[in-house]
Symmetry: C2
Subunit: 344 residues, 2 copies
DNA sequence: CGTATGTGTGCAAGCGCTTACATGCTTGTG
DNA sequence: CACAAGCATGTAAGCGCTTGCACACATACG
């Protein structure tokens, strides 16, 4: 009953700074300095410490380090989800870049509708990260207040809010919409249709599109709003019901994502509707697959990795006492491929 | 020059346990107890503390808490990447489940070829997580030793290693291969071709397939190994060159991923090769897209979310002093759809 | 009514680091 | 050669929590 056997056999104690210091015959302060700025300790002392570390297999406890220095070297990245997300490249880039600088990333999932954002933000703040990178979320005032009070650097990405709460790295969705409008006008499209997500960003693109269409004297597009996902199947299905209606087809369909565009394209092909002769298709995101389809899909290229890399760099700069720009526009570009006809 | 203005205006100090305690007129110990086990403090004391927390906007510092209690409530999740990964559902499930229990997830990216695994493991250990969940990596002995020394719970997922270092949650890739072999035999396929990733897991499936094919008296498959990615474009391209060779076509192609299968399928369609009449296609992973294609793709369903949920549960159980099973087989199933012909 | 049993709190010693400050030494300078 | 300056290191006070132990008080028992 009272057998002393624990679930796991008693492991040897994990080495600490102190044990390393003792082994090397120096104080803990010196070991700490060696770890954080090897140059400040004498070369031979450094060697002894290095040897002691190797011998003990010491791995610094960054929890303790973060607490003591109040720099946790931790960054919280918050995205809606990671399942099939257009933001994943950005996450990859952030994690990779920060890892190079000895930072770790905590992943928070706010949910497709940001339903868990409040919880996730609290959880993030509780870890006292050196920065929080938000992607695909909108910070309402209560959230901003909370973040301000916590005194944590915040980067909003994939958009350029008019008044970023701290820093923003992204591009203008309105500008994307306008560029698409001009693109359509230049190529003589007259009956655009949009299959759009319902988030703010998609709406901004739509807004920009409308603006430009009006300016160019074109009729506004018809719009089909998606509830949640912008997936392949959704694209097929939406285009299917559109085609089934028997109304004259639009001459171009703009989609909120490349997956959607792929769905539309395939559904059109199944129905024998020639792309781009009878119908053009435009995606968003410029995933690799867009270039690999046949016909290759015209899309809006967003450099997600660049956004992530910029975000990481901005945080590191801030940590180094610099003041990175409040707003960084990474731009975008329309990649013209085979699902659209060429300019008149 | 020596202007006192810092980059950010002096913020009010972040509230601590102490300030909350002072406000509520109790000791920090009591506040701490209230936070961790509300039931042990007297109801009215609890009310006062609650009020003080609300008034100060206090958010506990889990770095400090983790250090003091040596339970960080942090779990490190390591995957090759998050860009386009079959493991993303697993990551989603892990993060969501653990968040419910107040745990945070650190994301480590080991690289497609596990090239950064060593670095990432060190970074993980340095945060003293309560557990490490590995997905898509292979733990060679030096890594195992390091993890053992750190005394951290480890879960290997998406596979069932013969000797898991701690816990494993996944399925048998050899069994998948065997099941596919039986599936082919039952349907009378005679010239299978495999487009395979080169990782251990894919190789195990291939092994199982070979075994079963031999047992059923069928010829071994021809195999085309992929270097890195198992993406859509790769599938198109590999099938394209196969078809271009002019040799008699295989009667079925097994792919290491659904993206690959989708590529093969589309390339076949472009070339006017009827699926499944002249060629059958089988994917792996059972992504939503597989069901949504036309013809819908036969695939091997792996419940990635279940793997993640199990992993989270196992870690929580371990934290609660229980001893979860060392190995959990979540199984798999072949989802028969339209890209394969039906059994004889 | 004295003693066992709880119950709710407080005290205080850490957890493993970082870092201002102090110390002893070696150099360079007038 | 005395003294300032610089360098490498040590001392020790935290960082914000958790938790074993002690304590005061209330209740229950014989």
């Amino acid at each position: 009953m009272s057998a002393p056997a624990p679930a796991r056999p008693a492991a040897p104690p994990v080495p600490t700074l102190k044990s390393v210091a003792a082994l090397a015959g120096v104080s803990t302060a010196t070991v700490s300095r060696f770890l954080n700025a090897p140059a400040v300790v004498a070369p031979d002392t450094g060697d002894r410490i290095r040897a002691a570390i190797a011998e003990t297999g010491y791995v610094p406890n960054l929890l303790a380090g973060g607490l003591a220095s109040s720099r946790s070297r931790l960054v919280s990245v918050i995205v809606p989800s990671v399942g099939q997300s257009i933001f994943n490249d950005t996450v990859d880039a952030i994690v990779e870049e920060l890892a190079l600088a000895g930072y770790s990333v905590m992943l928070g999932l706010s949910g497709e509708d940001d339903g868990r954002l409040a919880t996730v933000l609290d959880a993030a703040i509780a870890r006292r990260p050196d920065g929080i990178i938000l992607t695909g979320s909108n910070l309402s005032e209560p959230f901003r207040a909370k973040l301000r009070a916590a005194g944590i650097a915040v980067i909003e990405t994939w958009d350029l809010p008019p008044a970023p709460m701290d820093m923003a790295i992204g591009f203008s969705h309105v500008a994307v919409g306008r560029a698409l409008g001009a693109f359509l006008a230049d190529r003589g499209y007259r009956r655009p249709h949009v299959i759009s997500a319902s988030g703010v960003r998609a709406r901004h693109r739509l807004e920009g599109l409308m603006q430009m269409l009006v300016e160019r004297g074109l009729p506004p597009p018809t719009v089909d709003f998606l509830g949640g996902s912008t997936r392949f199947g959704e694209g097929r299905q939406r285009f299917g019901t559109l085609a089934d209606r028997g109304d004259p087809l639009p001459d171009v369909i703009l989609c909120s994502s490349d997956w959607l565009a792929q769905g539309v394209l395939i559904e059109a092909q199944m129905r024998g509707i020639a792309v781009p002769d009878r119908l053009s298709v435009i995606g968003f995101g410029n995933l690799r697959m867009a270039a690999e389809m046949e016909p290759a899909i015209t899309s809006v290229d967003i450099n997600g990795r660049a956004i992530g890399a910029h975000a990481a760099a901005a945080l590191l700069a801030r940590a180094a006492g610099q003041v990175p720009p409040a707003t960084t526009d990474v731009g975008f570009s329309i990649v013209e491929r085979e699902t659209t006809r060429s300019a008149a």
